[in-house]
Structures are given as C-alpha cells and as structure tokens.
Amino acid sequence: MAAVDDLQFEEFGNVTTTPAENPDATTINIEGPDESPMHQPGPPRGSGGEEDDELLGNEDSDKTELLAGQKKSSPFWTFEYYQTFFDVDTYQVFDRIKGSLLPIPGKNFVRLYIRSNPDLYGPFWICATLVFAIAISGNLSNFLIHLGERTYHYVPEFRKVSIAATIIYAYAWLVPLALWGFLVWRNSKVMNIVSYSFLEIVCVYGYSLFVYIPTAVLWIIPQKAVRWILVMIALGISGSVLAMTFWPAVREDNRRVALATIVAIVLLHTLLSVGCLAYFFDAPEMDHLPTVTAAPNQTFVAAKAS
C-alpha cells in the first residue's frame, strides 16, 4: 500500500510564467482539444511495414478509408459507375503527377497518392498528350535535321499519330493487364501482404508515363548523346516509380521470381522508350554522312578533269 502513496501525482505550482516574468524559463504550448488527428505519434514502425500504412498527414486519409467501402456501388451499366473513376480534383491530379516525377525511396506511389481512389483521368489524358507530343516532336525534329538538304520536302507525317496512339495505349492497358494477371496468379500461391487492383496498376503505369512528355519534347535536340542521356534519366525516374511500387507486391515470393518480375517491368519500359526514340526520331548524324563523303569525290573528279 505504501507503493500506492508513492504513485500519487505531484502538484506543480502555476507554471504559466510569462517570458516577461522569467525570461530564462521555457514555456511549451500544448494544443487544445481540436488538434488535427495527424499529430498522433505512432509506435516506431519497422522497415518492412512502412509501405503498408502511410500517414502522410493528409486529413482526407481517414475520410478516404471510410468512404472506400462505399464507392463503386452502382452497377456497371450506369453512368455513375464510370464517374467513380473520375472522382479526382485538380490538386489530386497534380499531386500524383508530382509523385511520379519525384520518386522517394521507400515510398509507394499507390499507397501514397492513389489511396484506394484510382482514377482514369490521369492515365487517359497523359497517354493522349504523350501520343501527340511524340508525333509532333518527331515531326519537328526530322524537319530540323533535314532542313538544309535540297532534296527534302517537308511532310507532316500524319500517319505516325495513329501508330503512336496504338503503341502508347496498348502499352498503357495491356502491360498492366498482364502484370495484374501475373500478380493474381502468384498471389494464389504465395500470400502477399500487398496486392493491387487492376485499376491501381493502370493508374501507376499511366502516371509513370508522364515523365516521357518533357522527354519527347527535349528529344527534338538533334544530338545523339543528349537523347540517350534523356532516355537514361526518364527511365531512371519512371522505372524507379514502377519498381518501388511493385517490389512490395512480389517481395514475399520466391527471390528469383520477384527479381524477374521487376526486371521484366523495367525492361518493357526501356523497350517502349527506346522503340519510340528509334521509330519517330530520325538519327541526327546518319543523314549528313552522304553529303560529307560526296564532296571529296567531287573535288577529286574535278582535280582529275583539270
């Protein structure tokens, strides 16, 4: 019983000393009862679980989690069903684009930005913009490369828009489909903590393609070295977004399978960017070679004739 007396709280005096009274005292302000929920200190999290529960400090996180169960209740033949895929505000789209441009190591794009609210606005319009960016930049770059040649007649190369559209949209929909099917199949064999819905995968792929829009515009510069550096940078950024998103989903699996999956994802991404560069943008140096080699022959012939 004596232990209980020892546990009594000590009464402190009035601690509200103003800085005027006692300039050496430090006063701490404790926030009132209406503090926002984001300041709750959680237990220190292990590195394995930090992708799974993210508290970014966004007030909507609680609301979004609560509402997640109420969404998508309309049947798929009504218009409202499809409206749930466009339920994003301007700032959310900007945040997601920003997240795809600045991949932070250890932070998962889906958990951070999508948060059970995948949208189709971003993927669709980013792909549309990318199609026209590649086609127009390719056309412009070819025009600038061939500018001095006498036999060159400018053509708008309109066919390439449809080809670009086919490639980009096929990539943005078929690769996520294949990946989702693969993950579902692996999930049936190995229980994974993290699993993504098909729309979340489409969303990640769509937003990861955003970095290629400025890359395509910069590919107009007719220098091979510049173009390959741009390929590396873009691949680094979007590849790391994809790798960091899908690593938690395959981590528990067989080591080789997990690595093979990530390698395949990055490889397909590389194939897309290099393929687009090769097909839509003419090589800068190759076309100048014939004029260079022709000149010495002409001078040689002229010297011989005289």
């Binding site: 409206q83 466009f86 301007t90 319009w125 026209f132 390439k160």
Partner: protein, 193 residues
Amino acid sequence: MAKAVESSGELGTTSPRPLMRDLKAVGKKFMHVLYPRKSNTLLRDWDLWGPLILCVTLALMLQRSSVDSEQDGGPQFAEVFVIIWFGAVTITVNSKLLGGNISFFQSLCVLGYCILPLTVAMLVCRLVLLAEQGPINFMVRLFVVIVMFAWSIVASTAFLADSQPPNRKALAIYPVFLFYFVISWMILTFTPQ
C-alpha cells in the same frame, strides 16, 4: 430551361423551319464566338449545323490533293472529320464524367462553334501560302495560328468553364486546350503540293 430546349427543336416540330431562320441562328452564334462574352445563347439554343459547316470547310481545306501519293503526307478529309468529332465527343464525355452539368449536345455545339477562329486561320494561311515561300511566310502563318488558337481557347473557356465544378475546372479545360492545339498544328503544318 434545358428541358425546354431539348423538347422543342428540329426533331419535335412538324412544320418545316424556314431556312433563313436557321441561317440567322447560326450566324448569331458565329458572332458570339467572335466576340466571346458570358452569354447563354450558345448553350440554350444549341444546334449542330454551325459545327458541321465549319468542320467540313476545315477538312476540305486541310486534305491533301489526290496527286500526292506519299504515305506520310497530311491528313485526309475523313481523318480531319473523325479527329474533330471524335475529339469533341471525348472532351464532352470527359467533362460529364468529371461532374459537369452541361448536356452532351450543348458541349458539342460549343466546341464545334469555337473552331471558327481556327477555320479563319486556315483561310488566311492558304492565302498567305499563295505568296512566296520562306521564313517570313512561315512567321506570318505562325503568328496568325497562335492568335486564333488563343481566341478559340478563350471563347470555349468562356462558355464551358461555368458548367464545371470549381475544383475541377482545370481538369475539364485541359483536353480542350489539347484539342485545339492539335487542330492548330494540322493547320500550321499544311503544305500545298
């Protein structure tokens, strides 16, 4: 008010509408596009004749001649037609999915009528191309196309922006920007044979 518009229209009437009245309605909307201010005329009395006339005119002027057998030339008549109408439908569906309260045909009407400045740009470009080719020629065309592109964007934004929820206005306007940008690109890169 929107319901009344939907029921009274070309489909509902039994007596033939006089041609002059339709032409006057189309002409009035052209004026509204050229001097855009916040009025409801384009939205209230929508019609698709104006967009059709503009689209056909633009496609006729943009198509490459039959002599040109190059695979990589400019767009054909059908391609321009499809781009304009498919683009307009996509933008309309997009704005409705985002929660806009504009009807399908009203949006098509606005987007179609706001092609008018770009059609004017195409006419000017074709006239300018009759003169001697060169960088000055290109700069003049570039300037005209840029001005008309901005005019189209301003006109369509003035009519469409109010029908969108306030926190999604940029999301609904961006596809309009892309649409007119692509049309402007087609106009600018038009090269006669």
